[in-house]
């Protein structure tokens, strides 16, 4: 990647122990990095530095990460944001996405995972695809998802999905065409990292496939990558 095509990342965290090692790590991964130490600094730099993506810690003094995100979105600033959040409940996670975050990552995390997420988010925005995160309603072929009401329809018939299956479908549809490991789904939708919990992911994917009549050997929606994870293969559009 040549110097003039390096993507600009704004890293926002009040903990210098984190930024002092994470910023150089991101730079070695090929990004140009600017660091903000609190919410107000973040808003200032989002203007002056004009980053292509913001990595934003949630828990900060004065203006916290959520408020920064709200300010940005209210000002029609759709710069992609990855929240570093200690989100517990599934509803909190869903809210993080609804508030306009493109992705979130729980601490402690593997820095390589952060780089992978940054690259995936930048790839989508580079393709000129609109951010799916602000969208209330998403569609793919005959599938329609309404995130606010937590309802989904296939071939105009409403689907009866468990809350976890819905959250799983929502996560897959807001990260289309991206390989997502079962560990990541377990963390993103359940908030767990128990190896035994991996089966819960498979069970919910099976539930989704059955509800969508999606054949795993010729999928229209959810593809299995054996030994790796799942990928949502359908083209996802924002529905007004």
């Amino acid at each position: 990647m040549s110097a003039d095509t390096k993507s600009k990342i704004l890293l926002v965290d009040d903990d210098s122990a984190i930024t002092e090692s994470l910023a150089p790590f991101l730079e070695r991964a090929g990004f140009t990095v600017s660091v903000a130490v609190d919410g107000e600094d973040a808003l200032l730099r989002s203007g002056s530095f004009a980053p292509e993506l913001i990595v934003l810690d949630v828990i900060m003094p004065q203006l916290d990460g959520r408020e920064v995100l709200r300010h940005l979105r209210e000002a029609e600033n759709w710069t992609p944001v990855i929240l570093l959040t200690q989100v517990g409940e599934a509803s909190e996670r869903a809210m993080a996405l609804e508030e306009g975050a493109d992705d979130y990552l729980n601490k402690p995390f593997d820095p390589h995972e952060l780089v992978a997420r940054i690259r995936a988010v930048l790839r989508r925005s580079a393709l000129g695809q609109p951010s799916l995160t602000a969208a209330q309603r998403l569609a793919c072929q005959d599938l329609l998802l309404d995130r606010t009401s937590r309802r989904a329809w296939h071939d105009s018939e409403e689907l009866s999905l468990t809350p976890k299956a819905f959250a799983l479908l929502e996560y897959l549809m807001t990260h289309p065409d991206e390989l997502i490991t079962r560990d990541r789904l377990l963390d993103a939708v359940w908030g767990w990292d128990y190896p035994a919990g991996i089966r819960a992911v498979d069970t919910r994917v099976a539930e989704l496939r059955k509800a969508l009549a999606d054949d795993p050997s010729d999928p229209h929606y959810v593809e299995t990558l054996p030994g790796q994870g799942y990928r949502f293969v359908g083209a996802v559009e924002v529905v007004s």
Partner: protein, 237 residues
């Protein structure tokens, strides 16, 4: 009331002491590793030391996440859907068969005959699966080659009962009251890997579902872990 406060305070003291212990060792290992890595010229040796440090850090990460999950479980609202306990037990049993230690134990699944099905339980399928699996994982870790482990499920109209019985070494009487506590690790088994959170999770999950946990053990004979859950109609009445 004062007795309750004293007990809560004692539990908190015990928990903090154990947390200190769980953190101390990995942190000491990390510092020793870092001191070594600075002094070692050989690249391959440095790499090996750094990998070892990373393993300690990942372990601390798991500990943090486990404690966070436990805290959340105690407070967040529970998903309440009908759970098919038979299916849940069969799935947990199949998963246990894949455990690295399963080949060295005799596992068995004992369920009621077809005309006595288990009534559904109202709750979170994934949490209850985790509870059953943790009991099986615990039994696998703390028994020896050739021991039997039996997973049983049965019920009456109001209560569903799940048991995990093993023919292992048993738990010392002094340890029995503490086995369910967070980070508790008996001196007898301190060499067995694990976080010490597994059983605390089982207890929290079962109690949040309106149930109870029980334990009976005899040194030299074996251990029986039990939990009782109210059947769906009962818990909603």
């Amino acid at each position: 009331m004062q007795a309750f406060r004293n007990r809560a305070s004692e539990e908190r003291q015990r928990f903090l002491r154990r947390l200190d212990h769980e953190l101390k060792n990995p942190l000491t290992a990390i510092r020793a590793g870092l001191a070594n890595v600075a002094a070692v010229p050989d690249e391959e040796e440095r790499h090996r030391i750094l990998e070892s440090i990373e393993a300690q850090v990942v372990h601390l990460g798991h500990l943090t996440t486990s404690l966070r999950k436990l805290a959340e479980l105690e407070t967040r609202p529970l998903e309440r859907l009908p759970v098919d306990v038979l299916e849940l037990l069969r799935t947990a049993y199949d998963l246990a068969l894949e455990h690295p230690l399963a080949a060295e134990r005799q596992l068995a699944l004992v369920l009621p005959e077809r005309h006595h099905p288990l009534p559904p339980v109202s709750g979170d399928h994934d949490l209850l699966s985790l509870a059953v699996y943790n009991l099986l994982d615990n039994a696998l870790k703390f028994t020896h080659t050739g021991d039997t482990i039996e997973l049983r499920g049965f019920a009456n109209e109001t209560t569903v009962v799940v048991e995990v019985a093993d023919s292992g070494p048993g738990i010392l009487p002094g340890d029995i009251p503490h086995v369910w506590e967070e980070l508790y690790r008996s001196q007898e088994v301190h060499s067995v890997p694990g976080s010490g959170i597994g059983l605390a999770l089982v207890r929290t999950i079962v109690e949040r579902h309106g149930g109870q946990v029980g334990l009976h053990s005899e040194v030299g004979r074996g251990t029986l872990f039990t939990f009782w859950l109210p059947a769906q109609d009962v818990s909603e009445s």
